[in-house]
Each structure stands twice: as structure tokens, then as C-alpha cells.
Subunit: 520 residues, 2 copies
């Protein structure tokens, strides 16, 4: 086993500063629980002095038993005009009673003078005494040297003085932060060489991705002797984000042989998706290692090659990080793609089968209209069965009508009526709903339940809308993707619909979802 | 001026293999035109032997006069059983009559034997003679050493023999491809040191982002003497994408002082957005340098600091790459954010104004409900004006009704009726549309046009729907963002609406859009 590298997760603090992220206290507690299961060494949860949500969080986390991870509270050095023992922020950090306190201090003379408005000497003093005082009250104290590399480039002597002050104060780890994200990995290497001549305290790295190098910068710091990497799940963070732990941890372990999170690595894809869900964001499909498409193959030649040997187009086995290979069907599909997908769905085809040609033709035509089968395996299987003349039909739509009203009393009503032909019999149902698609779904179920009672075990669990060409304004085509689960077996399937009319697109996806279920 | 580094863009070939990308011939021609304006050195446009779309493209590009860029055709070495002069693929490459032909060849013994099914010796011969033959017929021939780093790690002698064969054949540039994207920058450096002992031909790098290091790998190769970087706009490409030229070019020029695209660098943000639009994809907000949020500031402390000096939280001036700073309003907003935004909108506020507190409170409350003001400056300004008691109202909604029918004859009808109170008078209008929101928009215009004729100059140019919590299925809240343009002045503004009912959410965004216009 290689050297141990400590992971310090700041998803809940630095990550939460990302545009569009808004964690509730409950969200934070749930994420902490998952990070603890992953054996992440440190979890920075927030800034107790800064807002009521974080204060409440720290009260609650005190009562929570952690299995592995240490909780860190983040904050600033004492205010220049306060004595450290009177400083409210420092008090709140201590009151949080966490295993670790991390405070940041300015290392860049520009910031000390312009942003803080104090002298360079005062800054050294308040850094040293803040850390010293915290060390008397907290088990571990880390110092975040903010803007360290820019500070060093601007005034190397002063930047080193700051680190020495932190060392004198007794910091357990000195974290070198590339706060503006502008440094390059080789600059970081050269600068670390210099500081190691002067500083003995173990150090860490806190990189930002403004130059697209947070990953490289983090691992370069470790190659240079750093023992701690600070980052976030999915690289969440301000501007271009923080160092992405979902990329870095697999690099450290699989490529570089370090000891990081042991067998928990196989859960990292799940963790990435979990945090995406809580954050109400789509997981980036192309994220290295953990993205939905990280091991996705489209070109016919690639698919053909990986069917012979997966190493031909995959740098690691996806299972190592809990991810899966997936083969896409598209207009670049060759026979291999269709055979692979059919096999996945348990359908044996011969590559010379006419069905394969027909399906490729259908896919290309539909994709041109905006359909997408990635994420819509259910619709794809129906297409396949249709080409094999094995698709069964269970009902015919005669007509539907949707009425959406905003009444004079400011009430919203959505009502859907559907006429179906089920086994030669006309059924006519109506239902209300929270919105048009919800009403349609409810009316459809009402119509089908008496004939196909098993439908009660189907549950719609995800609904996505994508406007295909927003430039067409409100006349744009939309693509609707629905995900349904069989509550009895847990099986999930996706279905798709496309139209300029969002109701029609939703209807298509809805009936594919039901027909898939009834065909299986 | 530093050393010249050549950029080889493969957005239209390798990039097009990305999931969800589907360039038409017209799309490719438009992108080529923009890349030419940007003075990109080489544009790899496709594979003439591989599909009819590409063949048609190469016929058309022959007739196009380029100002700067050289066009490259991509393809494979000759088929093992063919003589090179009889090989159809090679013929098509020559017929394309491009300035450059790039062919790829296998350097990894695993691939030669398993994927190609030929001997290691045969592979060397067909690489050398394919290049030799092409050099007799084409001005520049580049050799893409596929899977080079994996091939070298597996069998270094053989990988070097392949490069020597390419050199013997007369390749102008040998491109080292990290096809599986699994290499680390320091491995690349070590391997390049070895090959430079043996190969004299200038070399380039073609990196993939499977380990999150395509950017670092590319610039490390250049530091080691490489003169060509292959990549794509926005990092488009299979799995985790290709090296992202929008990150790499600014790194090379601003951070490393190389000579790349001169004053065209200030157009790179625009290029990134243009390619996103043509690809019908959202530009990733957090993309380094060119992303919409690359210079976005949310935390109150950051905003406060950049108002004093922008270097405090920005690694470069956004203007260098044609991007803009933006200040977000959110529940992390401090007074600085509101003041900054108000100032941007031409509204002078004092930081102690009660209005500021009221606006912060309103924003936090609305954001909790799912509203987002980033991208909805129009709605934000209305909020501000309301708090300043300066917002004017031009109409009141009494009621609306939407009817969406799928008739027995399989026709979709969307009809909206609206009752408004305009200046004490009731107006009642109806309109059809391509879908519900389109119908609503049309009916609203019909109602307002007689009273406010200037509305005819407003045009809705973008419509986005985001399901806020897909897990609620069809009952999920949706957020609608609308972008409107004033056709006379070109001014654009965004507005937002949130509801479980997509019609209601769209309605909110629509009326904010009109009210913003009428208030200005």
C-alpha cells in the first residue's frame, strides 16, 4: 500500500458557494452521512459565525456519531481590532466543538493592505495568535494560506513569513490555497520546493479550476510531498469550481497507488450522483470516472473493438469506481451497437438480421427529429420489438383534451380527459392534477387500471424536459424524458417523447412507459 | 513573442463523436468559417471515406476560400490486404484535395493483434507506405499515433518502431495520442524524453480527458517541445471529451507566453458560445475562461473585495478572453451584490437604504421557492423597482384558459384565451399556437398590442425549462427562463417563473418580460 493521502471535503462550505447551490441543514446532514460512509477523512461543514443555517447545523452535528470522518468548522482569523479571546468568530468556532477548526489567513500583500486594510505585520500577529489560541481549545487546527501562490509570486518573503507565523502558532497542517485558480502545476511544484526549505509542518493543497488545472495542481502538490487534498464532490465551487474529488481520488488510488479511501472507491460513482441529486443538479455526463458517459461508446468501430477487449477504449474497468460501460445508439451506430444493446436487454440477434438494419435506420431518422435513446432504454426496446414484429399493443388513443385555467379567484386548475380504445371498448376518463402532465398521467392511469391492474406498481420517478432549440422561442421542440420504476422489482426504465407541444411530447413518453411495462 | 504553437481543431471529427452531437453539413461549414476567422491553424473536418455527409462536406469545402486555416481530412492507414494505390479509403483522402491529410495508426501491440488482427511487422509496413504514398499526393501529412502512451508502456520498443516507420514514410508531424485518456502529465513528460532521443520529426499531442488531465497533458507535451495541440472547442468528444481548446489556448497565451492566435483570443468566449449553439447544447457555465460563470461572484465577501480590486478574486481580466464579470444575487448576497447589480442596471442605491435589505430578503425567499435571478436580470430589475416603489403596472390578469387537444383525427390543437384588465377596461382574446406556451404568448400579445403597440418590437428568443425536482415526477416544480430581445435596440433581458404547473411558470416569465419592457 502506498503513502496515505488525507481527503478534506469542502462541498458543504466552498462547494456551497457555487451558483445555484442552496443546501438546507437537512441536506448537509445527509451529505455528511454519505461522506462518513465513504471514509472521507475530513468534512468541512460550514462557517459557524457566518449565518444561522450553519449555526444550527453545528448544534445538530455535535449530537451525531461519526464512524470515520472528522468534522471541521471553517472561519477567519480574529478581527484586527479584537483580542483573540474576545473575538466573536473565534468563539463560535470553539463553541462548535468540532474535531478540527480551519481558519484562513491572507498571504498576499495586496489583500492584506487593500481588502483587509491592515499592516503586513499586524496580519502575521493575528494569524499566529488566532492559531495559538485555537490550539489551546481544539484538537486539530489547520491554516488555509489564502491566495498563497499569487502571494508568493508577488512577494515571496512575505508569503513565507505568513507560513512561518502559522507554523509558530502551532498549525497541524498548512494548506496552500490557489484561491484564484490561476496557477499552473509546474509553478506549484517550484514554489513548494522553496517552502519545504523553510517550513517543516505537513502541508496540503486547495486548488480551484479557473485554468482547468485543479486536478493536476492537486496531484502535483502530493507528488511534492503534500499529504492533504482539499476539494469538493463533483468539483462544485465558485466560478469554475474547486478541485474535483471524484476525479482526484481515483487518480491517486488507481493511477498513483496512494492509500486514500480503500474499498470505498467502488462507491464513488454513487456518491457523485447522490450529491448531484441533493443539489438538484444533473450530474455532468462527461465527468471523468463517475460520469454517466465516462465509459460510453458511440462510434461503431469503438463498440466493435471493446466487444473484443475492453482495454482497447477504456483506461480502467468501470467497476473499479462503481461505474458502468454503456453503448449508445445513434446515427453513428454500427451493427455492434445494436447487438450490444439488444444483448443488454436480453434479446439475441444475429448481426446479419434485417431487424438490425431496420433499427439503425429508425434510430437515425428519429435522432434527426430530436429523439434521444440514451436514457430511454424503454423506448429503444419498444423500437426493437416493433422491428422484430414482437411489440404488443394494449390500447389506442382516440383523443385527449387538457384544460388549464387560471381562474378569476387566482386558482390554477389542470384537468385532462382521455378517450381510449382498450380491447375494442371505449373508455373515457377525466382527472385533475398539479399541472397538465400530472393530470394526463392521472387520467391515463384511471383509464387503464381496470383493464391492467398491475399498473399500480408503476411509479414515475423522474421527469426531464429539454428545449431542443430555444432560439425558436415558445415554438421550440421539446424532448421529454421520463423515468419509471417497478415498485415490486425495483427495475427502472426511461422513455422519450418529442414535439413542439410539450403535452404531446409528455404523452408519447408516458405511453411508451406504460407500453414498455405491459410488454414485459 | 514566444514560440509558435499550432492548434489543430478536431471539433468536427473527434468532437462530433460525442453523445448527443449531430452536425449537419451546413453546421460544419458554419463552424469552419468561425474557426478560420479565429486563425485556428488546422481544422480537421471529418473522414471522407466513412459516411455520405462527410463526403458531401469535402466536395463543398473545396469550393470555399479560407483566409487562414488549413483544412485536414482524417482517415486510416491502408487496409492490410490492399496495395496502397488501390485502397479506397486512401483514394478518398486524396480526392478530398485538402491541404492536410491526417491518418491514424496503431502503436499498441494489443490493438494491432486483437483489434486489427495483423502482425506487428505488417502494421509497420502499412503505416510507412500509406504515409509515403500520401506524401506524393498531399502537401502535408500528419500521423496520429493512436494509443501511443499505453502502447509505449506495454511495449516501448514496438511503439518507437511505429514512430520510426512514420518518420521514414515522411510524416510532417507525428501526433502522440492518449486515446484512452488514462495517462498522467508526468508520464507523458518521461515518455517524450525517451522518444526525442530517437525521433527527429516535430511532434504534437492529442489528449483525452478520462483522467481529468487533458489540459495538463497537452501543455506538458508543449513544455517538452511539442509544437501542435489537437483538441476541440468546449472539449467536445467521446466519453469525457477531448482536450478543451477554450482552456488550453488562454493558458498557452496568457500564462505561458506562447504565440498562438494573437488578438483573436478576445473572441474565444464568443466562439465557445457559438459552437454550443450550433451543437444545441448549453455552454457549461463553469468552463474555465469562457464559461458564463467563470468570473461570477456570489459570496458577499468576494463581491465586496472585487469592488475594491478585481485581482482579489480573478486570475485574469475577463476582457482578455472576451468574457465578462458577473455578480450573482442569492441568499449569500450581501449588500455589495445588490449595489453592484443595481449599478449595472443604472440604478443608484445607497448601501444603507432599506430597499437593499428588502431586496435581499425577497431574493432569499424566492430562491428558496426555486426562483433564480442569474439569467433573469429583467425579473430582478422589476423586483428592485418594486422595492423602490417605482414599479409601474400596465395590466392585470383576470383569468386565462388553455385548451390542448389531440383530436380523433390525430391533430394537435393548442388554444389560449386570456381576460385582462387594461386601464380599467376588460379585454378578452384568443389565439392558437404550436404548443400551450406559444398560444399563451400569442393571446397575450393580441390583448396588449392595441394598448401598447411598442410590444411588436419585442421578440422572445430563448425559452428554457428546468424541472426543479424530477423526483416528484410529473408533479415537480418547473422553472422557466425566457430571453427577450428588443428588435430595435438589440437589448436583451431574461425573466423567470416557477410553479408545479408549467403553464403558470411560463405565464409568470412572460408577463415579467412584457412588464420589464413597458417599465423601461
Amino acid at each position: 500500500m502506498g503513502k496515505k493521502i488525507f481527503i478534506y471535503d469542502t462541498t458543504l462550505r466552498d462547494g456551497s458557494q457555487m451558483k445555484g447551490i442552496n443546501f438546507s441543514v437537512e441536506d448537509k446532514l445527509r451529505i455528511v452521512k454519505e461522506l462518513d460512509k465513504m471514509e472521507i477523512d475530513y468534512i468541512e461543514c460550514g462557517w459557524p459565525g457566518s449565518n444561522p443555517k450553519d449555526e444550527e447545523f453545528f448544534k445538530l452535528i455535535k449530537l451525531t456519531k461519526m464512524n470515520h470522518s472528522k468534522i471541521a468548522a471553517f472561519g477567519s482569523t480574529r478581527h484586527p481590532k479584537n483580542r483573540v479571546e474576545d473575538d466573536v468568530n473565534i468563539k463560535k468556532l470553539i463553541e462548535a466543538e468540532t474535531d478540527v477548526v480551519t481558519i484562513f489567513g491572507k498571504t498576499w500583500d495586496l489583500h492584506v493592505e487593500k481588502a483587509l486594510g491592515i499592516t503586513l505585520e499586524e496580519n502575521l500577529i493575528l494569524i499566529e495568535d488566532s492559531i495559538k489560541y485555537l490550539k489551546e481549545n481544539v484538537k486539530e487546527v489547520f491554516f488555509d494560506a489564502e491566495h498563497f501562490f499569487d502571494g508568493y509570486k508577488s512577494n515571496p518573503e512575505y508569503a513565507l513569513k505568513v507560513l512561518k507565523a502559522a507554523e509558530k502558532g502551532g498549525a497541524d497542517i498548512i494548506v496552500l490555497a490557489d484561491t484564484n485558480g490561476g496557477s499552473l502545476y509546474y509553478e506549484i511544484a517550484e514554489i513548494i520546493d522553496e517552502i519545504k526549505k523553510v517550513i517543516k509542518t505537513p502541508f496540503g493543497i486547495h486548488a480551484h479550476n479557473d485554468s482547468g488545472l485543479a486536478n493536476a495542481n492537486s496531484i502535483e502538490a502530493v507528488r511534492k510531498g503534500g499529504i492533504q487534498i482539499q476539494g469538493t464532490i463533483n468539483g462544485y465551487g465558485e466560478r469554475c469550481g474547486n478541485a474535483n474529488l471524484c476525479e482526484i481520488i481515483p487518480n491517486l488510488m488507481i493511477k498513483m497507488g496512494y492509500d486514500v479511501i480503500g474499498d470505498k472507491l467502488t462507491k464513488i460513482t454513487k456518491l457523485s450522483r447522490f450529491v448531484s441529486e441533493i443539489s438538484n443538479r444533473s450530474q455532468a455526463e462527461n465527468m471523468p470516472y463517475v460520469g454517466g458517459n465516462a465509459f460510453g461508446h458511440k462510434g461503431g468501430i469503438h463498440v466493435s473493438a471493446i466487444m473484443k477487449d475492453t482495454h482497447t477504449y477504456e483506461h480502467i474497468e468501470p467497476e473499479k469506481v462503481g461505474n458502468k460501460r454503456n453503448v449508445l445508439v445513434s446515427d453513428l451506430s454500427g451493427k455492434s451497437n445494436i447487438l450490444y444493446k439488444a444483448n443488454e436487454l436480453g434479446i439475441k440477434l444475429d448481426k446479419n438480421d434485417n431487424v438490425v438494419k431496420e433499427v439503425i435506420k429508425a434510430i437515425k431518422s428519429l435522432e434527426n427529429q430530436g429523439y434521444e435513446f440514451e436514457g430511454a432504454d424503454g423506448s429503444f426496446e419498444l423500437l426493437l420489438k416493433k422491428a422484430m414484429k414482437q411489440r404488443k399493443y394494449f390500447f389506442d388513443l382516440i383523443s385527449f383534451r387538457m384544460i388549464i385555467e387560471r381562474t378569476e379567484l387566482n386558482k390554477m386548475i389542470s384537468e385532462a380527459t382521455i378517450k381510449l380504445d382498450v380491447d375494442g371498448k371505449e373508455t373515457h376518463t377525466v382527472s385533475e392534477g398539479d399541472g397538465p402532465v400530472n393530470a394526463l398521467d392521472a387520467a391515463l392511469r384511471k383509464a387503464l387500471l381496470p383493464h391492467y391492474p398491475q399498473i399500480k406498481d408503476m411509479e414515475l420517478v423522474d421527469y426531464k424536459v429539454r428545449v431542443l432549440n430555444g432560439k425558436d422561442g415558445t415554438a421550440a421542440k421539446v424532448r421529454v424524458l421520463i423515468e419509471t420504476v417497478d415498485k415490486l422489482t425495483g427495475e427502472r426504465w426511461g422513455t422519450v417523447g418529442v414535439s413542439e407541444n410539450i403535452i404531446k411530447a409528455s404523452w408519447e413518453a408516458l405511453i411508451d412507459s406504460v407500453e414498455y411495462y405491459l410488454n414485459n
